[in-house]
Symmetry: C2
Subunit: 362 residues, 2 copies
DNA sequence: GTGAAAGCGCTAACAG
DNA sequence: CTGTTAGCGCTTTCAC
């Protein structure tokens, strides 16, 4: 019987076995001392010192993959999002900051999965949940109810701004309808009557909710929204530019809207571009308001509706980690299925009362 | 001798052993079929089908941690950066997009490590390199040469905008001095003479290089920079606001600078805030130019110096993965130690020739 | 108090 | 072509 060759691993500085050998004890003892093992009652102080000393001398580093394999936990959460390669996603950045911050506080790493789109996501998500992450946050997922059964059930999931209920997936969102309503109600209260809503994609729940808020504000004020008052595209500056340009083209000679309520800040920025290019003063001639309160809004001093994006990220991370803990029997499972945070109006420099005389589109 | 209890793992849907049992073959056969094993020449078609069928029935998913432990590779790269909790880092976002994009193309995941600051980083980096990532990108690290020996040598590192040479670490950067020089030279060519440089932190190499470019442009034009022509703070809008406000306070009654060259776009945005608040027209009365060409610049139509941030991220990821491959004997090691990409001027709406009459600071 | 043994799931080597 | 064996580094019973 030949003694098994123990090939000296070159992959890591030192293993527990190395440390044990150096200290003249077993690897288990080393493990007990170096990693907060719950198993060992106590190791003799003298032994412990010897082990610590050996570890320092060999520059011992625990191996995360081995530990993960044994523990069934990687201490890493995933964050899945679509990331366009042409337009940087401020929305992502805000939420991500919250996620990574809260995760770090809980000793968890964050790995980001960039999706081309969500049909891609539905296909790839199961593959992500293969042990490299302990749980996954879905950012603004566009999943069909049909995709639900394909989602892995052994990995906790949390969604932010999910577009449909997914069984077993906690969803976090903000009061978008209420936020949109409050903003449009304020515009109406200031005297604006002709408000154009340049909306996001109709297949996105949040975009529809903003449209709903717009309509409710008119309704509750006893007013009727203008004909052609809502145009929809996607959530990008480019879309804002395109939609508004086209709208102005097709309504040439008619009355210029007094205000533009953009579906998000990026759209608002696109609208600002168009107005500026036409020499139309904001807010002197037309008011423009956005939605989200991303850094874009702050840098342009845009009047907007704030969604607590960073906080959504933080909460999502904390809930997710709680789910992971619970799955491993290390705590109670959070008993929420949905969490809705408030929105609020943010004052900027792009909103004022409507001018007295109406303006014609040239 | 008691038979070892095989506790049915509840952690994963199914293991290779499960699949093998179901298909009536060994786990190795299953491994060979399900994961592209190079070892086995061929498995009988009939067997292979049986295995695939069993895998599908059991919904088999390979376990990434087990695979990583055996293979010594996690297929994940790390991205370490400082992330302020008060101001969102557009610079980070741009580079990150490049990193994640290139990494994904190479089948690698990306995990982000958020550092409070780089002294923190020097301490924590070794701990990250414990097998959970195969290599690490350092974004704008501020490391002392002294920290070098603490960096792990078993994990490949790549830095972007590193502040000092680190042995064995490939560094990527842009021609910052040249970019700053080109911009200031253009300002001078337009007729500006009194250019205030609101710079970044002097301990950051890139900030110093921009100052150098500023000085060289004056020198080569045969001119002398104004006294008090450079003020330094950090790379944030807040710093830009504070520095410019203070500068204007302390120079009250003197001549207003004709142009402001900001150390980065965030600083430029801060300066724009201050000028706007004072009712000073940009660029009619004062020109403002930035550095980086982040999304902030684009949304404000800021004239700026473009650094190819996304490309820096892409290149860094590709180089890093090449290093990882090389370490595992799967390819040649890249033989570069430094990569410098060009910068270029970006036209915006915040630069014009100086006005004829000089302006006094009120 | 400490060590021996078994196993987390997968893979590389070698035997059959 | 397929199965057996050993081992990646760490942990967790369970004897001693």
């Amino acid at each position: 019987m030949t003694a098994p060759v123990k090939p000296r691993s070159t992959r890591h500085a030192a293993t527990l076995a190395d440390v044990g050998r150096e200290a003249g004890v077993s690897a288990m003892a080393a493990s007990a001392v170096l990693n907060g093992a719950k198993t060992s009652s106590r190791i003799a102080d003298e032994t412990r010192d010897r082990i610590l000393e050996a570890a320092r001398r060999l520059n011992y580093r625990p191996n995360a993959t081995a530990r993960a394999l044994a523990a069934g936990r990687m201490n890493t959460i995933g964050f899945a999002t679509t990331l366009s390669r042409t337009e940087l996603n401020q929305y992502f950045l805000e939420v991500f900051n919250g996620v990574i911050e809260a995760a770090a506080e809980l000793g968890q790493n964050t790995t980001v999965f960039a999706l081309a789109d969500w049909s891609d996501g539905a296909r790839r998500i199961p593959a992500f949940c293969d042990g490299r992450i302990d749980g996954l946050i879905l950012l603004a997922p566009q999943l069909a109810a049909d995709d639900a059964h394909r989602l892995p059930d052994h990995t906790p999931l949390v969604s932010i701004h999910g577009n449909c209920e997914l069984p077993g997936v906690i969803n976090l969102e903000a009061e978008e309808e209420a936020g949109a309503h409050a903003m449009v109600a304020r515009l109406l209260a200031l005297g604006h009557r002709h408000i154009l809503h340049v909306a996001g994609p109709p297949h996105v729940l949040g975009a529809r909710r903003r449209v709903d808020g717009y309509h409710r504000a008119y309704r509750e004020a006893g007013l009727t929204p203008p004909a052609d008052g809502v145009v929809a595209g996607d959530f990008s500056a480019e879309s804002g530019r395109r939609l508004l340009s086209r709208w102005l083209e097709t309504h040439r000679g008619q009355e210029m809207p007094q205000a533009i309520f953009a579906g998000n800040d990026a759209i608002a920025m696109g609208c600002l571009d168009v107005l500026t290019a036409r020499g139309i003063g904001v807010p002197q001639q037309v008011s423009v308001v956005g939605f989200d309160d991303t850094v874009l809004a702050r840098s342009a001093r845009l009047t907007t509706v704030r969604q607590p994006l960073r906080e959504l990220g933080q909460r999502a991370a904390r809930l997710l980690v709680a789910c992971v803990d619970a799955k491993l029997g290390e705590g109670p499972a959070p008993n929420v299925t949905t969490l809705v945070l408030p929105t609020e109006l943010v004052d900027g420099a792009t909103l004022s009362p409507p001018r007295a005389a109406s303006l014609r589109i040239e």
